[in-house]
């Protein structure tokens, strides 16, 4: 291996690592606030990439129908829940309508806009809006009523959600894979290392987003409310922070992060309906590096995973995934030696 190849691999690794970093942050965020270990985080990535690809082809993406099904189910759940609590019908309907309003509105917009050939930036925005809407709906459907369940029950729920989402993804998107065109077709050469425009966009967007996330947690009231919920759920509730709305907000943020990652990764690889799982799990390995608790360590872990992946694809390409997922063992060993008293009850 010479310096050029090493440079190329490093850039490639850091680019992917930047995306894993976003996903790892979402994982840590969700775990801290809701104690949900959210396996399906990667699904957002695949759904966003596929949505943009279909919009680019002038078709109505399957996301729309997918979203309407979820919104319908959530509205039904709302009605059922309210009916059992003997709420007045007017309030029931209002609650159901509130659940439906935004998903239906954004879906109608997408149906209307799809054949009109909007500029890529507008389609990207629409994609993010569509995919982000999944977050609170999934929270409502799968997790909200289980907020007090144990971490392990929530984890099994997560794999159930993963199964359902992947199956539905196959139904709504089909088995065909898509690769999005690059947002920015340039090649820059910096000191012998070639940088593609897409790589620059990915790295810049990740850095900007991470800074924005940090500002959100440090400066905004909602961010502080989420942090408070993460530290002590009961305490936060006593201070008037609703755990439920904290959960909804964090699921929305995680879906947003997933959608963004999907847009970024779309032009670098062919994405299928089930590609998200592996991408999401790499974010996971990074999050485990940070003990599912530390944002900075998760970041370091993500860059490490990206680099490990690109260098192992050079040395032993068919064992790339084996190497990336096996590395979790030494990481766990390191964590268990560092902090053996991790039990929580």
């Amino acid at each position: 291996m010479d310096a050029t190849i090493a440079g190329f691999l490093a850039v490639d690794g850091l680019t992917n690592g930047a995306i894993y970093a976003l996903l790892a942050l979402a994982t840590v965020l969700l775990f801290a606030v809701t104690r949900v270990i959210y396996i399906p985080q990667g699904e957002y990535v695949a759904f966003a990439a596929l949505t943009l690809a279909l919009l680019q082809m002038g078709k109505v993406p399957g996301t729309v129908w997918f979203l309407l099904v979820l919104a319908g189910a959530a509205a039904l759940a709302e009605l059922w829940h309210g009916w059992r609590q003997h709420r007045p019908p007017a309030k029931l309907l209002a609650a159901a309508a509130r659940t439906l309003a935004w998903p239906v509105a954004i879906s109608l917009l997408a149906i209307w806009a799809a054949p009109r050939g909007w500029p890529t930036a507008a389609q990207a925005l629409l994609t993010v809006a569509l995919v982000t809407t999944f977050g609170p709906l999934i929270y409502r459907l799968a997790y909200e009523s289980l907020a007090d369940a144990s971490v392990l029950v929530l984890l099994i729920v997560s794999v159930g959600v993963h199964f359902a989402l992947v199956g539905l993804g196959l139904y709504f998107f089909g088995a065909e894979g898509f690769r999005n065109p690059s947002f920015w077709d340039v090649r820059l050469s910096v000191g012998g290392v070639t940088l593609s425009g897409q790589a620059l966009i990915i790295i810049t967007a990740s850095v900007v987003f991470i800074v924005a996330l940090w500002l959100f947690f440090e400066r905004s009231l909602s961010g502080k409310a989420l942090r408070a919920t993460a530290v002590n759920r009961l305490g936060a509730r006593l201070m008037g922070i609703s755990t439920s709305s904290a959960g909804r907000l964090s699921f929305t943020m995680a879906a947003f992060i997933g959608a963004l990652s999907g847009l970024l990764i779309g032009p670098t690889t062919t994405v299928f309906y089930d590609s998200g799982f592996l991408i999401g799990l790499k974010g996971f390995v990074a999050a485990v590096f940070g003990g599912l608790a530390s944002y900075p360590l998760a970041l370091v872990g993500a860059l490490g995973v990206g680099l490990l992946e690109s260098f192992s694809s050079f040395w032993a390409s068919s064992y790339k995934e084996v190497i990336v997922f096996s590395v979790i063992l030494p990481v766990l060993l390191w964590r268990s030696l560092r902090d053996p008293h991790g039990e929580e009850h």
Binding site: V153, L155, F163, A164, Y171, Y319, E321, I328, L329
Partner: protein, 585 residues
């Protein structure tokens, strides 16, 4: 009811001889194979509270070992089984050792990674046939009899499943089984009873891996080919789904779950593509949604509904005349027992216990009192090794016990109860008390599965009943601990502590939540224990109770020792009154 299991076993073993279509024989073999794997998950997830998504990979280890060794090296089935099981054990030990010391969610995460890594390894290794896998595996022949792949193999598969289920039932009703059932309640209580929780977590995880590998071994000879996809992470999740659907807490739930999933999966694979119009793994949608729904609305699974309709059998009382368990030699009255010297505990900047010293002599009842937040429970936790001591020393019967883990301290003869009662809710009162006798008995998991430990088990049950009678709860021994009110639960904790045959008993607020009559009965029990030479240290808020019972009292306030003296001296002390009631300024 007693005949249900033999009847079921006879039916399954004789099924091939009955006029059942080949299709259902094949289905039944699949159900049996799935049930072996799901059984491992019942022990792991339902009983011990650990989760693995990687069981399919262990199945793969068993299957690929059989496939590779029989086709490439022509080795016979017993050898391929031994190799497959050994490899699965090694992998499980390695995964368990790096994850099981930490919080419960690291094991599932590690098993996901393990499942993926194994699957990619199978799919990429030249010698394992890459994505095509290994074809042409011979049929299974044992002792010169060729079992084929259908009606001949069915009895072997079901014999293994049924024996495994029987072994699991035996295990759960034994000394090591109760230790495994206690794991779900966290490690503090189990460790205080002398149980190494890490060891038992490893035991169950390895056991589940072995069951999976055995299923894989059968799978290879049944299908006569292996390829990576049946061992993927999705399949691993499906196994967990079977266990959860059937009833993850019950051995028979594994059977119900694997049967339901196999039959429904088959139907869905035909029905859904026809409904939808294209082919694909659409059954995962149903599985995913059903999994979430089961956890929400019926977390105990389908078997729980069946079980509710079955008569509940009480444990047969078969321990009359059993020999007594070995007892430790007790210290003579007045001998120095516990010496706490300048013990200090800091949590970050907070000094919870500040250089506290006191001594207990054999035969004493010493009270530890003080206002809320005085550091009494922390002191308890320091003596019993739950928290690490920041500074100072503790000696017990002349030996230093500072810094020892709590199960070592339990071994030396200190036993305790907890301020927040820690009983295993799903075990009976008797079984909970039997946990206390853990260190006085020896049976291991293998002997328990083979039922070779029944004599010792009878001794243990006799001891547990004796302790329950001692505190006046003999009539409630078959009750589930979770069904008792708080007062009786505290008494059960005392009986459990007594079953350890302690030299020193630490009681953390034993009278809290007890009615007046119960309190009188409890203080009579404690006096009786004192007459028998037992030494007791107790934290208590009920002053009447403490004053009437103790020889000496240590008063703590804000982490400091305020004073020490006889009950009369403490009652006369202005400092103590000020600590409790405040002072006039």
């Amino acid at each position: 009811m007693k005949l249900a299991f033999p009847a079921f076993a006879a039916l399954m073993l004789a099924l091939p001889a009955l006029p059942v279509p080949d299709f259902w024989i094949t289905q039944s073999i699949y159900i049996g194979l799935y049930a072996i794997v799901a059984l491992g998950l019942v022990l792991l997830t339902g009983v011990a509270g650990l989760i693995s998504f990687g069981q399919a990979a262990f199945v793969g280890v068993g299957a690929y070992s059989a496939a590779y060794l029989s086709t490439k090296l022509g080795l016979p089935p017993p050898v391929t089984l031994a190799v497959g099981v050994a490899l699965a054990m090694l992998a499980a030990l390695a995964l368990g050792l790096v994850t099981l010391r930490m919080s419960g969610h690291y094991l599932p995460l590690a098993t996901i990674a393990w499942g993926l890594a194994m699957n990619y390894t199978m799919a990429n290794m030249e010698s394992l046939g890459k994505y095509d896998g290994i074809l042409g595996i011979p049929t299974l022949s044992l002792l010169g009899v060729d079992l084929g792949t259908g009606r001949g193999l069915h009895p072997l598969v079901w014999a293994i499943v049924l024996l495994a289920a029987l072994a699991a039932v035996h295990l759960l009703d034994s000394r090591p089984g109760r230790a495994i059932r206690a794991l779900k309640e966290g490690s503090t209580m189990a460790e205080a009873m002398g149980i190494s929780t890490l060891r038992y977590k490893l035991v169950v995880f390895v056991l589940a891996a072995v069951l999976a590998a055995v299923a894989g071994w059968l799978f290879a000879y049944f299908q006569r080919s292996v390829s990576p996809s049946p061992f993927s992470i999705n399949k691993g999740i499906e196994y967990l789904f079977m266990a959860v659907l059937g009833g993850v807490g019950h051995v028979w739930g594994a059977f119900v779950g694997s049967g339901l999933v196999r039959v429904i999966e088959d139907e869905l694979q035909v029905l859904l593509p026809r409904l939808i119009g294209t082919s694909g793994n659409f059954e995962t949608i149903v599985f995913g949604i059903v999994l979430v729904a089961v956890l929400k609305y019926a977390p105990d699974g389908v078997w729980a509904f069946v079980r509710r309709r079955l008569p509940q059998r009480e444990r047969v009382r078969d321990w009359d005349g059993a020999a007594a368990l070995p007892a430790r030699d007790k210290p003579a009255r007045g001998e120095p027992l516990l010496a706490v010297e300048s013990v200090r505990k800091t949590f970050g900047g907070l000094v919870a216990v500040n250089d506290v010293s006191f001594r207990i002599h054999a035969g004493d009842i010493v009270g530890l009192i003080g206002p809320n937040g005085a550091g009494k429970s922390t002191t308890f936790n320091l003596i019993t090794g739950v928290h690490a001591i920041s500074r100072g020393t503790v000696h017990f019967r002349g030996q230093p016990i500072t810094g020892l883990p709590s199960r070592q301290i339990a071994r030396r003869g200190i036993s305790r109860t907890f301020q927040h009662v820690k009983l295993v809710q799903e075990m009976t009162v008797l079984e909970n008390v039997a946990l206390g006798g853990y260190l006085r008995t020896r049976a291991g998991s293998l002997r328990a599965m083979l039922r070779l430990e029944r004599q010792e088990e009878r001794q243990l049950m006799a001891e547990a009943e004796r302790q329950l009678q001692r505190i006046g709860m003999g009539s409630q021994m078959h009750e589930l601990a979770g069904n008792l009110a708080l007062g009786p639960q505290r008494l059960v904790e005392i009986a459990r502590a007594l079953a350890t045959d302690p030299a020193l008993l630490l009681l953390d607020e034993p009278a809290a939540g007890l009615r007046h009559k119960e309190k009188q009965a409890l203080s009579e029990v404690l006096r009786q224990l004192k007459r028998e030479g037992l030494s007791i240290l107790l934290v208590e808020h009920d002053m009447d109770f403490v004053m009437g019972l103790t020889d000496r009292i240590v008063v703590m306030e804000f982490g400091n020792k305020l004073m020490e003296g006889t009950p009369a001296e403490v009652q006369a002390s202005d400092a103590v009154r000020a600590a409790y009631l405040g002072t006039e300024h």
